[in-house]
């Protein structure tokens, strides 16, 4: 590195009004008042009152949420017979950049299928909701739903197992068919 590459920054000099502080406090208060006027009197720039009010109800140009493209919590799809569609190929866990999918494969109990996941855990806290798992899946078994309001009181609760992920399928299949 050369000396010419180094940029030396000087502390900016305070003007007289800056040095008195009070005028600057009033300027700041002015900004607050301007926004209060906009919200209370003109009815603009309003904050969404979550959870009473939700963004998906609003038009997108007014800050609404487009659920169609939203990537929320995962679900495991079921086939026509209600069995888990996943074939435990490990593609999702291999593609996962956050390593949050843990699968244990086993021989399937059904005659027409070879392999199925005996265990399928997703750590929803570790997940970054990138959707790579969805893209990697060769049988469209894993999908991201539009559910975003998942809660849990412990970290353990937020590791969703196969049963929970299949439950989410039942919960969301009407609104979001496969």
């Amino acid at each position: 590195m050369k000396d010419s590459d180094v940029i030396v920054l000087e502390e900016p000099k305070l003007s007289l009004t800056d040095q008195f502080y009070l005028p600057q406090v009033l300027v700041g208060l002015g900004t607050t008042m301007k926004h209060m006027f906009n919200v209370v009197v003109r009815g603009k720039d309003r904050v969404v009152q979550y959870p009473e009010e939700k963004r998906e109800g609003l038009p997108v140009e007014k800050g609404g949420l487009l659920l169609r493209t939203y990537r929320g919590v995962h679900r495991l799809n079921k086939d026509e017979e209600g069995r888990v569609k996943c074939v435990a190929c490990f593609m999702c866990s291999t593609a996962c950049p956050a390593s949050c999918i843990h699968i244990e494969a086993a021989e399937s109990p059904w005659p027409d299928r070879e392999k199925y996941p005996a265990k399928f855990d997703i750590d929803e806290l570790r997940c970054i909701y990138c959707g790579m798992c969805e893209e990697a899946c060769p049988v469209d078994a894993i999908e991201l739903t539009h559910l975003y309001d998942i809660i849990g009181l412990t970290r353990q609760e937020m590791i969703f197992d196969k049963t929970k992920l299949l439950e989410i399928f039942d919960q969301t299949v009407k609104e979001e068919p496969m």
Partner: protein, 532 residues
């Protein structure tokens, strides 16, 4: 030495070598399925066909012997057209169930489809469905994935000499099968799974356990007999999932026995010792490993001070040479007259010899000596000299050296119960530190019992029956609470630092000093896309 030109590259070959092998040796990839350097050459898969100048038709490179000045084209339009056709033909009835196939990731059908194939299928008719068959206690055959390279059939005919597998039918009905009631259960049967270039023959033991791309390979040596078969331990996140053969023309060629293949099971054996135990009044109590070692050393020192020459160390033929050397030096440091004893060397009678029934040539030997390092421990004993004995001497208590023994350090580490019959009286009456992998009657009677690390959990070297000293490396960590044996011996010698097998070997001098572990991780080269 004939020289040939392949795709404009000059390649030096050995006499009577085939073109394919010459290219592979020179690092010039050619596709092949049915060819295997250890088996006969049927030239049946046809994907290795190349153009040779002066011959109007394509010739199979796996069967064509090199001739000086030969000019070969493997990427000419004619050769490439053949590669694409063969790939398309092989994939006509292939189920394309890669997501659930255990071979995915190490499947040459996948690799070549990517490198030489076309991305779309023109076959619109229904694919022929063939059954899944149980061809042996350890082997499953998925007939519809099979590409009929017949490597497995040739293996059972030429290497194991048992001939269980055969080709049934002709044309699209062709299938690999076994004769009724004659499953493929010979002692080398697992090799057919390794030979299968696709996912047709699979190991029941590994079925669905892991995807192969998650596994890491570590070079190791077989622990089950004195043959010293070279293996890869394939593991992920501290668990060994399978063992695969490592090619070594001087030792095991391309094959391993099934005993070696499934020897990793001892690592996760439920009965394995994991806690150090110290005998106190009122029975054995669990202790921390380092506290147990300290207690053992204090007692041994006291005994040695009382009557010099009353200590012994039983060096198990399961130990690495470095460990045997360190323990022997440690016990001699406590008592310079200590007796070094070679542990029991179990044998199964006679070597099992496999022959090619046609040529009568010997193809593989499973050694009768069921421990990997009896020769190495003997060499260490000779290196150190001084008073030495064998386990039988201890048991008989006949020789003067073993008459007045009062305390000792006994290493087991065998993969099964190694105490046959009674515990020798001289051991039973004295103070004994026992270091072992599995619980034995001797361990139950020990004053201090230390859990041992298995071979896959430590570095070292073993000498096989033929005097070849081969290094192996730690693939997985030992179970929690288990100290690596070498580390314990270093603490006995009051030496600081981590146990480093290479440094100990240097200290031991030749022939050990020149033994070099090649690398910690062996990555197979990524397959490259061949531009057309």
């Amino acid at each position: 030495m004939p020289k040939i030109t392949v795709d404009g590259k000059l390649i030096e070959c050995k006499d009577r070598q085939v073109v394919l092998q010459a290219c592979l040796d020179a690092g010039h990839p050619l596709p092949y399925y049915c060819y295997h350097p250890g088996l006969s050459i049927p030239a049946s898969c046809r994907i290795c066909l190349v153009e040779v100048e002066g011959i109007p038709k394509l010739v199979p490179s796996c069967q064509t012997v090199v001739r000086d000045g030969m000019v070969v084209h493997s990427r000419s339009p004619k050769a490439v057209a053949n590669q694409k056709l063969v790939m398309e033909y092989l994939l006509i009835n292939h189920p394309l169930d890669c997501p659930i196939c255990d071979q995915a990731g190490e499947c040459t059908l996948q690799d070549y489809s990517y490198q030489y194939g076309r991305s779309q299928s023109r076959f619109e008719e229904d694919k022929a469905k063939k059954p899944k068959k149980d061809v042996g206690d350890k082997i499953l055959l998925y007939s519809d994935r099979c590409i009929m390279c017949t490597r497995c059939v040739r293996f059972t005919r030429e290497i194991s000499g048992t001939g269980e597998l055969y080709v049934d039918g002709r044309g699209y009905r062709e299938e690999i099968d076994i004769f009724p009631g004659k499953p493929c259960n010979n002692k080398l049967a697992g090799n057919v799974v390794d030979l299968c270039p696709v996912g047709a023959l699979l190991d029941k033991d590994f079925l669905f356990k892991q995807r192969v791309w998650l596994l890491t390979r570590t070079e190791s040596i077989s622990p089950v007999d004195s043959g010293g078969e070279n293996i890869y331990l394939e593991h992920n996140e501290g668990i060994v999932y399978r063992i695969k053969p490592r090619e070594n023309p001087q030792v095991n060629q391309w094959w391993i026995s099934d005993d070696t293949r499934y020897s990793y099971k001892v690592l996760t054996e439920a009965k394995r010792l994991k806690k150090a135990m110290v005998l106190r009044s009122g029975g054995a109590a669990e202790a921390e490993a380092d506290a147990a070692v300290a207690a053992a050393v204090a007692r041994l020192r006291a005994l040695a001070a009382e009557s010099p020459g009353c200590l012994y160390a039983v060096l198990s033929p399961m130990m690495a040479c470095e460990e045997a050397f360190l323990l022997a030096s440690a016990i001699r440091a406590i008592d310079s007259q200590a007796v070094l004893v070679l542990g029991p060397v179990p044998t199964s009678g006679k070597d099992e010899v496999f022959k090619n029934p046609i040529t009568g040539q010997q193809t593989f030997v499973i050694k009768a000596e069921k421990v990997p390092n009896a020769a190495g421990v003997r060499r260490v004993l000779a290196l150190l000299g001084g008073r030495a004995a064998t386990w039988d001497d201890l048991a008989a208590a006949a020789r003067p050296e073993v008459k007045n023994l009062k305390g000792g350090w006994i290493v087991g580490g065998y993969h099964s119960n190694w105490i046959s019959g009674e515990i020798p009286a001289i051991i039973k009456s004295g103070f004994k530190v026992v270091q072992d992998l599995l619980p034995t009657p001797l361990g139950a009677a020990a004053d201090v019992l230390l859990p041992a690390a298995a071979w896959a959990e430590k570095d070292g070297c073993w000498e096989n029956y033929a005097g070849q000293i081969q290094p192996f490396e730690a693939a997985v960590p030992p179970p929690e609470g288990v100290m690596r044996d070498g580390q314990i011996y270093l603490s006995l010698l009051d030496r600081r630092g981590q146990y480093n097998a290479q440094l100990v070997r240097r200290e031991m001098g030749e022939p050990f000093a020149s033994v070099q572990a090649t690398s910690r991780l062996v990555q197979s080269p990524a397959t490259e896309f061949v531009p057309l």
